[in-house]
C-alpha cells in the first residue's frame, strides 16, 4: 500500500473502541502550528532590515498567506471531504513546512519573491487546507457537542500565535546573540532568520504528523454512547437532512451566514489590527500617553488570551443555548460594547481593557461557532467543504476591517498624536457593521427541503 493510499479516508476509519477524545488533540496539533500566521509581526522589522524593503513589501507576505488561506479552503473543501482528514492534514503539513523551507532559501539568497512564493503561496495553501481539515471529522465524532469540539480545535488557531511569538523571539535570540527582543529597534540577522524558518518548518511538520497519526473518521452509523439522535429533531434550526456544498451556496441561509461572519470578523479585526497604538491613544493627554509601549504590548497579550478563551468558551456555550442566540450575543452585546468604548472607553484603563477583551472574545467565538452553525443548517454531509467556502468572508473582512479603521484614523491626524475622540467615527461605524450582521442572523431560516440530498434510492435516482 502506497503512502498516499494509506492516508485515504477508507483506511482512516476508526476501529471499535477508538476513543473520540484522541481527535481534539489531533486537530489541535494542526491548528496550534498554523496559528503561527498571526505571529509574523515578531520578525517583521528584521525582515525589513534584511531585505531593505518597505513595511508594505513585507506586509504583503502575510496578506498573500491570508488570501491563499481563503482561496484554498474554498477550492479545496470538496477535496478534503472526499479524501478525508488524514490525507488533508498530511498535505497541509507538507505545504506549511515547505513554505518555511522555501522562505528560508529566499532569506538566505535575499530573494523576497521566494518568501512570497514560499510562506505566502505554499504556506497559505497549507493554512487553508489545515484549517478546515479536522472540522467535519470533529462534528461527526461529537454530534452531541459540536460547538465544544470545533471550539477546542479553532481555539488552537488562536493559541498558535501565543506559542509562536515568544518561541520565535527566544529562537532568534539564541541564533543571534546581538538580537535583544526587549529593545524595539533591535533586529535579528539574516542568518538567524534562516535558522528560525528552518527550525519552525521542521518542528511544525513533526507536530502536525502527530495529528496525522491520531486522526480517524468514525465508522458508518457510529454514535456516542447514550446519545439519542432524535434529540436533534427537537430543535427548529437543526436539520437532520444533508445539503451538498454546491447546493449550500445557492441558499439564502449560506449567504446570510456569510454576512454574519463577515460583520463579526470585520468588527474584531478593527480592534486587533490597531490594538497597541489604540490603547496609547485612548489615554493620551497633552500629547503624552499614560500607557507605555511595554504596557501596550501587554494589552495585545491580554487580547490574545481573550481571543483564544472566547473560541472555546462561547462555542461550547452555543451547544447549550443554540447557535442563533449565541450570535445575537456576539453581535448585539458587541454593538453595545463598541458604543460604550466610543463614548466612555477613556474613563479608566481597566474598563477599556475589559470591553476590548470581551469584543475580541466574541470575534474568536464567531470563528469557532460557525462550523457548528453550518452543521445545524446543512447537516454533516459536506460541512467541511461548505465551511471552506464560507471562509471567503474572513478574507474579505481581513481587507475591510483595517480599511475602515485606518481610513478614518488617517483623516484624524498623524500616528502618535491621536486621542480617544479620533476613534469615535471608526468605532461607531463598527456598531453599524455589527447591526447589519445582527439583522442577517435574525433572517436565517432552515434550508428548504428542495436543497436536501435525496435519502431513498428512488429519490437518488430521480435526482441523478
Amino acid at each position: 500500500m502506497s503512502l498516499l493510499t494509506a492516508l485515504d479516508r477508507q483506511h482512516t476509519v476508526a476501529p471499535a473502541g477508538y476513543s473520540r477524545w484522541l481527535i481534539p488533540p489531533a486537530a489541535l496539533s494542526v491548528h496550534l502550528c498554523i496559528g503561527q500566521v498571526y505571529a509574523t509581526s515578531v520578525y517583521k522589522n528584521s525582515f525589513i532590515a534584511h531585505f531593505d524593503a518597505s513595511q508594505t513589501a513585507i506586509g504583503i507576505i502575510f496578506s498573500i498567506a491570508i488570501v491563499m488561506l481563503g482561496l484554498s479552503a474554498a477550492v479545496g473543501g470538496t477535496w478534503v471531504e472526499a479524501n478525508g482528514p488524514r490525507k488533508a492534514m498530511f498535505v497541509s503539513a507538507c505545504f506549511w513546512a515547505s513554505g518555511f523551507l522555501v522562505s528560508a532559501l529566499g532569506i538566505a539568497t535575499e530573494q523576497l519573491w521566494l518568501v512570497y512564493a514560499g510562506y505566502g503561496v505554499l504556506g497559505g495553501i497549507g493554512l487553508g487546507i489545515g484549517y478546515i481539515s479536522p472540522v467535519s471529522t470533529l462534528i461527526k465524532w461529537f454530534p452531541d457537542r459540536p460547538g465544544l469540539a470545533t471550539g477546542l480545535a479553532i481555539m488552537g488557531f488562536g493559541g498558535g500565535a501565543l506559542i509562536a511569538s515568544p518561541a520565535s523571539r527566544q529562537l532568534l535570540s539564541l541564533y543571534d546573540s546581538d538580537y535583544d527582543p526587549n529593545v524595539a529597534t533591535s533586529v535579528a540577522s539574516g542568518h538567524a532568520l534562516v535558522l528560525l524558518f528552518l527550525t519552525l518548518g521542521i518542528g511544525y511538520f513533526l507536530i502536525m504528523m502527530f495529528g496525522v497519526a491520531n486522526i480517524r473518521v468514525p465508522a458508518e452509523g457510529w454514535r456516542p454512547a447514550g446519545w439519542d439522535p432524535s434529540s436533534v429533531r427537537e430543535k427548529r434550526l437543526v436539520t437532520t437532512a444533508n445539503v451538498s456544498a454546491a447546493n449550500a451556496i445557492r441558499t439564502k441561509a449560506f449567504w446570510l451566514l456569510w454576512v454574519v461572519l463577515f460583520c463579526n470578523v470585520t468588527a474584531g479585526i478593527g480592534i486587533l489590527e490597531q490594538a497597541s497604538p489604540m490603547i496609547q491613544d485612548f489615554f493620551r493627554s497633552d500629547g503624552v500617553s499614560t500607557v507605555s509601549v511595554a504596557a501596550a504590548g501587554g494589552f495585545v497579550g491580554v487580547l490574545s488570551l481573550f481571543n483564544m478563551a472566547g473560541r472555546f468558551a462561547w462555542s461550547s456555550t452555543s451547544d447549550l443555548i443554540g447557535r442563533k442566540p449565541i450570535y445575537m450575543v456576539y453581535l448585539g452585546v458587541g454593538m453595545a460594547l463598541y458604543l460604550l468604548l466610543a463614548l466612555v472607553g477613556d474613563v479608566a484603563t481597566a474598563l477599556f481593557v475589559l470591553m476590548a477583551g470581551l469584543i475580541i472574545s466574541f470575534y474568536g467565538g464567531g470563528f469557532a461557532t460557525v462550523p457548528a452553525y453550518l452543521r445545524d443548517l446543512f447537516g454533516t454531509y459536506q460541512v467541511g467543504a461548505i465551511h471552506g467556502r464560507l471562509l471567503t468572508a474572513w478574507s474579505a473582512a481581513g481587507v475591510a476591517g483595517p480599511l475602515i479603521v485606518n481610513g478614518f484614523l488617517d483623516q484624524q491626524g498623524k500616528p502618535g498624536t491621536l486621542t480617544s475622540s479620533a476613534y469615535q467615527p471608526a468605532l461607531l461605524t463598527m456598531v453599524g457593521v455589527l447591526a447589519v450582521g445582527f439583522v442577517a442572523n435574525l433572517l436565517i431560516r432552515p434550508v428548504p427541503s428542495a436543497y436536501h440530498e435525496p435519502t431513498t434510492p428512488a429519490a437518488k435516482e430521480a435526482a441523478a
Binding site: 473502541g17 477508538y18 484522541l22 488533540p25 489541535l28
Partner: protein, 43 residues
C-alpha cells in the same frame, strides 16, 4: 453499530494521556509567556 461502550485498552489510555499532554504543554508554554507579557499592562 459500534459505540464508546467498547472497552479501551491500556495502550489507548497512555496514548490519550500523551496526546493531551503534548498539546497542553505547547499551549501552556504560550499562555504562560503571554501572561508574563500581559503583566506589564498592570505594572
Amino acid at each position: 453499530m459500534t459505540t464508546e461502550d467498547t472497552p479501551t485498552t491500556t495502550t489507548s489510555t497512555v496514548r490519550l494521556v500523551l496526546s493531551w499532554l503534548l498539546v497542553t504543554v505547547l499551549l501552556g508554554y504560550g499562555i504562560i509567556q503571554t501572561l508574563i507579557t500581559a503583566a506589564k499592562l498592570f505594572e
